[in-house]
């Protein structure tokens, strides 16, 4: 695995150290573009590395050191009541000869307090087969400590006639543990390979394909060095579970994710160059399979999970001389099916569908950048557990209005202020549990209630860009971001403080 580390770390560093291109953008331009995510980019929407040259025309690098704190009673039962995270991340884009290299690397250390019913990495990833216990608790020993590293390297080849080839390699490794008995521990590893291609059929039309796979693995252990033996819950859906006392136990979740995506980009007026309006269309699918095994010497089935996702995107960008506008319609459908390890038939299933429309307009006038956006999101949620005869469904509507203002100073610095106000509304819900269990009342129904609670949403940010003469071309940014969900069932608040270093 060392060669992989070298590749990932090397790619990230290489991407940040390569020679700058000749477009002569300012660091502020780069930072602004990197943060505002404007334009039609097949790299951003579908990880098509062959489309990197169409995304950024100049190299850049950003290193960020940040801390985030998240707290509040409004949380899903398997989420921590408090979470504090520290992160160091770096990303960059550079040309190496005629190749273009993008790299990113992020290390995050997280401390979670008061989590119950989750012994794993992510209890919300759809797989219903989880290990858990009821010990949330206040003591320090009940705190989860997690360390995760995420990296991604992408390469875009030189143009080969009308073709360009790309490759993206995402990698994620992490582990977490709790000191309180039975001392649950997990290790997670994900490695993917996503080859891609871009075909420029002419000045108007371009076509891209991304297809690849990912291997995932999560190992769980409980009980080593434990002095007492609480019950281990094996969650099997929405209320269905098995439980038993545990001394030591091991579990392996291994899976694959296959995905494919077809993309097209159409410029309506190619003669206008960068000012040409463009349409971006994208359809894709993702097929995820996971198998759970318990034990090492004589493994036993712990369930199977399959998830199929279809997604589609249509976006239109209309640049103007000092700004532009973008409208995007995105939709996806996720269907998850769990095969119960005991009854060996379909146990828990879900069908989630979303449709979102984003409309954004931005303008750059003398020293001031303005961005305004509206986002409307409709979601349909449907969860079923045939063992507990539980079914819940809901329709959830969310609307946001987003404002960003950036005042640039003559010394290269700037102030940036952003605010988002929104509301989440639940027009229809339904909950039935005809064969309830103990977990129906303490896990399934509370989760349903949290997910179907109307909320007022408020986000804000303030940032300051500045230069330090001694460090020449570097741009520094300090920003504070705040987000809150306010409901009748409690609030959830998040605050983060970040320092960014941007260099060309």
């Amino acid at each position: 695995m060392r060669w992989l580390w070298l590749l990932l770390l090397g790619g990230s560093v290489l991407a940040q150290r390569g020679p700058a291109q000749t477009d002569d953008p300012t660091p502020a331009d780069s930072l602004q573009r990197g943060l505002t995510n404007l334009g039609n980019s097949v790299w951003l929407t579908g990880q098509n590395a062959a489309g990197l040259p169409n995304w950024q025309s100049f190299g850049y690098g950003i290193t960020t050191l940040g801390a985030t704190h998240n707290t509040g009673d409004f949380r899903r039962p398997q989420a921590p009541r408090q979470q504090t995270a520290y992160a160091l991340s770096s990303e960059g884009l550079r040309s190496v000869g005629r190749w273009l290299v993008y790299g990113e690397f992020a290390y995050q250390k997280t401390r979670d307090q008061q989590i119950s019913f989750s012994h794993g990495y992510d209890p919300f990833n759809g797989n219903p087969y989880l290990w858990a216990d009821t010990l949330a608790g206040e003591p320090d020993a009940a705190r989860w400590t997690r360390d995760h590293i995420r990296a991604r390297v992408a390469l875009s080849s030189p143009r080969l006639g009308r073709w360009r080839l790309g490759l993206t390699v995402p990698y994620h490794v992490g582990q977490g543990s709790r000191l309180l008995d039975p001392k649950p521990f997990y290790r997670v590893r994900e490695l993917g390979v996503l080859p891609s291609v871009w075909y420029q059929a002419g000045p108007r039309w371009g076509w891209g394909v991304v297809a690849g796979g990912q291997s995932t693995q999560e190992e769980n252990e409980v009980g080593y060095f434990a002095t007492d033996y609480p019950l281990l819950y094996r969650l099997r859906g929405y209320g269905s579970f098995s439980r038993s006392p545990v001394v030591t136990a091991e579990r392996l979740v291994s899976g694959t994710v296959w995905q494919g995506r077809l993309q097209t980009l159409h410029h309506t007026n190619p003669s206008a160059g960068a000012q040409s309006p463009s349409w971006l269309g994208q359809v894709g699918g993702q097929f995820r399979r996971e198998t759970i095994r318990e034990g090492v010497a004589s493994p036993e089935a712990g369930g199977k999970f399959a998830e199929t996702t279809l997604d589609g995107l249509v976006a239109y960008v209309r640049p103007v001389a000092a700004g532009g506008s973008r409208v995007a319609l995105r939709t996806d459908v996720r269907n998850g099916i769990g095969t119960d390890p005991i009854l060996r038939t379909t146990g828990a299933t879900y069908l989630l569908a979303t449709a979102a429309i984003d409309a954004t307009r931005w303008r750059q006038t003398a020293g001031v950048f303005r961005r305004d956006g509206v986002r409307l999101l409709a979601e349909s949620l449907d969860y079923q557990d045939k063992i507990t005869q539980t079914n819940w469904s809901a329709v959830r509507l969310t609307g946001h209005y987003d404002v960003l203002r950036r005042w640039e100073r003559s010394d290269g610095g700037a102030w940036q202020v952003g605010a988002t106000a929104g509301v989440r509304w639940i027009p229809a819900t339904q909950f039935n549990a005809l064969r309830p269990t103990r977990l129906t009342t303490i896990l399934t129904r509370p989760d349903y209630q949290i997910q179907t609670t109307s909320a007022a949403l408020l986000n804000g940010s303030v940032g300051r860009d500045f230069r330090i003469k001694r460090f020449g071309n570097l741009l520094h940014r300090v920003d504070f971001q705040f987000s809150g969900q306010f409901t009748d069932a409690g609030n959830r608040l998040t605050g983060s403080l970040n320092y960014h270093l941007l260099y060309l």
């Binding site: 009821t134 010990l135 608790g137 003591p139 320090d140 020993a141 009940a142 309180l180 002095t227 007492d228 033996y229 609480p230 019950l231 269905s240 579970f241 098995s242 439980r243 038993s244 006392p245 001394v247 359809v283 199929t308 279809l310 589609g312 249509v314 319609l329 939709t331 996806d332 459908v333 269907n335 099916i337 005991i342 009854l343 038939t345 379909t346 146990g347 299933t349 069908l351 569908a353 449709a355 449907d382 079923q384 045939k386 063992i387 064969r435 269990t437 103990r438 977990l439």
Partner: protein, 409 residues
């Protein structure tokens, strides 16, 4: 946008198509339980018997009542492993009709680890009831799980047992014995096995007629000493101190400095401190430990009387080394009341108390979580509570978040 709309509709249609594939039914089984009176009764079918079916995987229980043919029907049972228990209270008149002896009787039956598989026709199981006459003293509350210290450590010195006079007459407690049953409470370690007395060829045949106990304590005195009025109770503490004190465990839910008795285990090394304000029980037999610590995973307890404790059999644990102390065999006939707690809902196979004395068991959600088990109130006559006593801990006791010594709320 027309094409985009059509595209989205297509996605939703495909999604709906997938969901149709998910409608495979979960297989279920119909279970018919035939509740039968003891063979010596003059009728076979135990009409009105309450039968409880408990899934060992998640401890979910359902109850059915036997009809006129003695059959209790459970529809839609998921394949799996279950524990079955049944109880039937006979009034004086009913007992007289069935046995010729007009005395209230509680009948119970248990069958654990019943594997129910998917079958096209109904599964039929026979449950033969057995029972004993009711006593006057009952175990009112048992707090055994212990508590957590502020530092997250474990604290188990605050265990107690409360005994209640459930009769209409004063009961004299002198000579009353209390003991904990031998055997582990569940699969605490991978090698944990049910009590050897239940499986050994030497004792298997008489296991259901006796309780094999570890340590035995007795209330001192003779004759008409230690009176306990109807509706009153006594507390027997492991340690009769205020456990909430800072030096002990401020998180403990109980102050036992006013307990009626404590089980002081006098040792040369003084490891068990004697609380001076709480009188000590007589230690008749002790099998080890610093204190009378009953299992925090779930003890089996009995209260009994005997005129001659020394005459009780001491039986070696089958297969145990000669250095291990034998256990005391207490015949069912001496037992006044019993309580059984096990580690969890899957632990029915670890029962130590004979079915005739206690057909069920309780279990806490965890160790050291302050939960306690208190007998339910059957009725209230004036200010006196009559506690439920069906010789079945599963149905007789309720699980409390915190103990309630000498109280009901």
């Amino acid at each position: 946008m027309t094409y985009a709309t059509r595209f989205i509709m297509l996605l939703f249609t495909v999604g709906a198509f997938w969901s149709c594939k998910q409608d495979d039914p979960i297989p279920t089984v119909t279970l018919n339980v035939n509740a039968l009176y003891p063979a010596t009764y003059n009728q076979p079918n135990a009409t009105g018997t309450r039968v409880m079916l408990t899934n060992t995987a998640d401890a979910t229980s359902t109850t059915a009542v036997a009809d006129a043919s003695g059959q209790a029907v459970f529809q839609g049972v998921l394949p799996g492993t279950y524990n079955l228990s049944a109880s039937r209270s006979l009034t004086d008149a009913e007992a007289g009709t069935l046995t010729g002896i007009r005395q209230r009787v509680e009948l119970n039956a248990v069958q654990n680890n019943v594997v129910i598989m998917e079958t096209p026709s109904a599964r039929i199981i026979d449950l033969r009831l057995s029972g004993s006459a009711l006593g006057n003293l009952v175990i009112k509350e048992v707090y055994y799980v212990g508590s957590r210290t502020p530092a997250g450590g474990t604290y188990f010195s605050d265990q107690f047992v409360e005994i209640y006079n459930n009769s209409t007459d004063t009961v004299f407690l002198a000579g009353l014995c209390i003991a904990d049953a031998y055997g582990v409470s569940g699969l605490i370690n991978p090698t944990s096995r049910a009590t050897e007395f239940s499986s050994s060829s030497l004792t298997q045949g008489t296991f259901q007629q006796n309780v094999y106990v570890n340590s035995v304590w007795r209330i001192p005195g003779t004759g008409r000493q230690r009176p306990l009025a109807p509706g009153q109770s006594i507390i027997i503490a492991q340690d009769g101190v205020n456990h909430k004190e800072a030096a002990l465990n401020p998180n403990s839910p109980v102050d036992l400095s006013k307990a009626d008795w404590e089980t002081f285990n006098e040792r040369p090394d003084g490891r068990d401190a004697d609380a001076p304000d709480v009188p000590n029980l007589e230690r008749l037999y002790f099998t080890g430990g610093f204190d009378w610590l009953v299992s925090v995973f779930g003890p089996g307890l009995v209260i009994f009387r005997t005129d001659n404790f020394d005459a009780l059999d001491k039986v070696a644990i089958p297969g145990a080394a000669a250095t291990i102390l034998p256990r005391i065999r207490v015949p069912n006939a001496l037992v006044i009341d019993a309580f059984e707690a096990l580690q969890n809902g899957n632990s029915g196979g670890f029962k130590r108390i004979p079915t005739a004395l206690d057909a069920g068991f309780v279990f806490a959600d965890d160790t050291y979580n302050q939960q306690s088990f208190r007998r339910k109130t059957s009725s209230t006559i004036g200010t006196r509570r009559v506690l439920q006593d069906a010789n079945n801990s599963t149905t007789d006791f309720e699980k409390l978040a915190k103990p309630t010594p000498k109280a009901f709320n």
